[in-house]
Amino acid sequence: MGDFDGEQKELIKKLVNFRMIDGKRTRVRAIVYKTFHRLARTERDVIKLMVDAVDNIKPICEVVKVGVAGTIYDVPGIVARDRQQTLAIRWIFGAAFKRRISYRISLEKCLFAEILDAYRKRGISRKRRGNLHGLASTNRSFAHFRWW
């Protein structure tokens, strides 16, 4: 990881830490690096591909439930930069798990397929982002309830 900048290092660390269960980091790191090896076969810069894929999944607006006068409204708000990245990684991993129909299919295959789909602006995680943006634009009339 010598020639990466700070943000790229943080992204790889986040990728590893997100999927870690019971502190078994080595196991998850192996899965992530195997995915990177698969991505390297597509004749592209792996880190740039990964960053672009995450950027395509990052949501800009989200809805927050706000109670006003006994009624709960979905109020659209702007997503913070750190939370954008967190949500994007969470959705990519969630989509990869959804793709994994049986345990015969390895997780790195599913993760590889999902990252490529995200890079091409399609896939489950991209659809999820679209749904969130759709919900925000539907409830845009309640934007004046936002105080943050």
Binding site: I60, C61, P76, G77, I78, R81, G130, H133, G134, A136, S137, T138, R140, A143, R146, W147, W148
Partner: protein, 81 residues
């Protein structure tokens, strides 16, 4: 209850300096999304404006006088606790 401005009573909660940063940019982006059936490739300009606005807000410190901690400290000072 309210501040008097001429013959009008103004509710300070409603018309105070409640900071809602990037409100106009966000609403314009959401309107663009609604018009283009959630296809944000056609809303690049609005998206860039919103991102630029959020980047500009990042450096600004939040108003400390509006936080509950500030008021708790103020009350504690007055009581001399």
């Amino acid at each position: 209850m309210g501040r008097k401005a001429g013959a009008l009573y103004i509710n300070p909660k409603k018309f105070g300096g409640g900071a809602k940063p990037c409100m106009i940019e966000m609403v314009s982006f959401l309107n663009c999304l609604a018009l283009n059936k959630q296809n944000d490739d056609k809303c690049v300009r609005q998206k860039d404006l919103l991102v630029a606005c959020t980047q500009a807000q990042k450096g600004r410190p939040k108003n400390a006088t509006k936080t509950i901690n500030y008021h708790l400290q103020r009350l504690a000072r007055d009581k001399g606790l």
